[in-house]
Symmetry: C2
Subunit: 481 residues, 2 copies
Amino acid sequence: MSFQRKLQLATDFYQLSMGNVYYLDNKKDQIAVFDLFIRKNPCDGGYTIAAGLEQIIEYIEQLHFDDEDIALLKKNHPEFDENYLKYLRNFSFSGEIYAVPEGTIVFPNEPIIRVKAPLIQAQLIETTMLTIINHQSLIATKASRIVDAADGGTVLEFGLRRAHGSEAGLYGARAAIIGGCAGTSNVESEYLIEIPSKGTMSHSLVQSYDSELEAFRNYAKYNPNNLILLVDTYDTLNSGVPNAIKIFQELREKNQLGDTYGIRLDSGDLAYLSKTARKMLDQAGFADAIISASSDLDEYIIRDLKLQGATIDSWGVGTKMITSYDCPALGAVYKLSQIEEKGQVKPKIKISNDVIKITNPGYKKVVRFYDRNSHMALADLILLDDEKIDEKEPLEIFDPICTWKRKVLTNFYAKELLIPIFVNGKKVYQSPNIKEIQNYVKHQKQFIGEEYRRALNPHIYHVDLSEKLWNLKQQLIHQER
Amino acid sequence: MSFQRKLQLATDFYQLSMGNVYYLDNKKDQIAVFDLFIRKNPCDGGYTIAAGLEQIIEYIEQLHFDDEDIALLKKNHPEFDENYLKYLRNFSFSGEIYAVPEGTIVFPNEPIIRVKAPLIQAQLIETTMLTIINHQSLIATKASRIVDAADGGTVLEFGLRRAHGSEAGLYGARAAIIGGCAGTSNVESEYLIEIPSKGTMSHSLVQSYDSELEAFRNYAKYNPNNLILLVDTYDTLNSGVPNAIKIFQELREKNQLGDTYGIRLDSGDLAYLSKTARKMLDQAGFADAIISASSDLDEYIIRDLKLQGATIDSWGVGTKMITSYDCPALGAVYKLSQIEEKGQVKPKIKISNDVIKITNPGYKKVVRFYDRNSHMALADLILLDDEKIDEKEPLEIFDPICTWKRKVLTNFYAKELLIPIFVNGKKVYQSPNIKEIQNYVKHQKQFIGEEYRRALNPHIYHVDLSEKLWNLKQQLIHQER
């Protein structure tokens, strides 16, 4: 497109407007701590897959404002101070960022990114980080739910045309792969994630020939090795499947039938059609023909189709994955938790009548406890950064709201979730490749109990506060009210 | 970001895969006609606002494949013919595109873009056009619904952090302005649509000071002319509003209170809080203070709040507009309707068991009928391109499914909706600016009956087929079955 993106300005105006105040009020270099966290898992599910860190790193590394940006801001916002604009012209991020690695399974209220930086800097990067992580984590989580429903079946991402623009399609495809999809139809993603895109034919190809059979025969001629024929242009069972079988027979006779061949169903009742098509294919001697299906699929429909014995090997999922249709936004937030003023460290809190929305103060870390024998995740704990966990001693954890709900952990080990990404403005982390991230997701799922991963009404995984943090929080609440 | 976008590859793989077949099978230059149309209005509403044409034009104009693209395709897709790849390397669009101007109010099943081009070209541009128009039309329509609910109140787009990535935020902001929003918080949009972005302060600014009052006072010092104070960081009615009033009083005493000042509510019961805050402000002598509100708003909540007398002047709408939360995808499709083979023109149809999904064949146009006196829109008619409407004669139109539903139009005039955008690959159209598009939307709404614009359960606007087109369709259906 002729419009040249300006990611440094892909932010809310108030970030720049507050920056002006921080600058003029001599607050810009106060060291602030912000936590980025979600409040609710997508789709009323039990977990969220954090995704988008690689793009956040790229954003932070390249964040600067050029002369054109400064001129634009000056023209449109005369209230901005000249020296503030000069400051922006020379802006670069000099702070610290810790984050969970991409693909980490996370839960509400625990920091998944922690920023410690001069106030003006930490503030300025809020919106863009949220935009990236909200989008990719949402789609990765949705994809993971769909992949779980397919229960070993192949899931392909086919949603580009229904994505919120082509960039949403691209990074949505990336997130879908992280969540466990085997591939995507998105060709541009070949540059981003280096996996060949997939796909076969549309109805228009079939229509463009005088007959379905002629269309199949010509398509097969040029695609002998990945021959998935779309069978629903005219009449699936009376025309599409019989014609496909005819082509497979012709190819077999000529010894040209490849390893990957089959049909795609794109409308109608997929349970009935797949079972009937399976029989027809089997009876014709094509037991290894693949049946793939697409048509407004999501985790709920896939699960129901499988419950009714649908014989579908490969699921092409579009609209409902690329938009996370039943829950199209993840509401991660970014909250100030501490600020230093004249050398004095002040933990900060945001009060709300809704108790779950009161933020956790201070400079914090997160640990995940695992059982020493089964290696299953037991609970997560948010604690102040200087607190230590003694793995040799029993540890009592408690629900931060219903504090009488208590549990003693024994025979556990603890892993810190947040790792350093930027230190003093320098990147200290190398992003893994997409396959590594996908494998990391798959690996973790084995150690998060299936009751937490149930699609509907899952068990709630515990994210507790350390006693020290809980006490600090109570103290600040009383101070403010 | 360091990733360099490749919009020419922002497509589904099957477009390129079918291109290979068309090329090798000598079909690439068959002249094909495709219609792009929606099947359903967003949010079960009565209309859709077509948006995104400007970006589609930019895409088509710049569409070509560079050496790097060809090398990538060759590496990942060894089935692609060498000569086909050479063809792609020299690709440029040489066809014809007609479309409705941006901002046109459209209805299901009528072509909003019509492409007539060599088959391989018309096929190749499908996905990207759909992606762009599905996204922007969705958000423009959602914004229009929300603006209607605000009933004269100001609506601002605040959703970037919940958009599906920053590009979705940017073009979503553009679409929201088209739909009637007065502004957006998205700073990058200043480059795209040349309207200054808007916003004030977040909770973190308030928290970063030792007290709310101190935060307000300092913010006011540097923002005297657009002073909207966020009052819910600690306690809206007991702290936020009284502190805001204190600041307004201080400024008034010093004669520094600007024209635009007021408060923003961001949580709690907005009806109760706004009415109470209004009284407090009025009693303190600040009757012209603005009350703005944000907090998970959409057209349904805004309407309900207004029904209960909420005194809110300005609505900041985020998540639910930028994602069209209750309906996050628009399902526009792109269907082959005609192909020429060896000089013979063949209208084409896609059959479906679902009668509404059977496509309309042929090279078609769309007219909208208006009443000569009231200028209200009466109905739309899809007809073959060579058909003529005689405005002087009564015209009988009929429902294409329930054909016994008939209506005779008299005293009408007809306007064609599709206008030429590309002819012989050359752009013949100049996009209007965003304000013109916004005004065009606003203008049309006056002439589309309010029963069609009702948010819930609207009356269905008629989109009929001419008798000639209807006959052609029936003939093809019988031929195929």
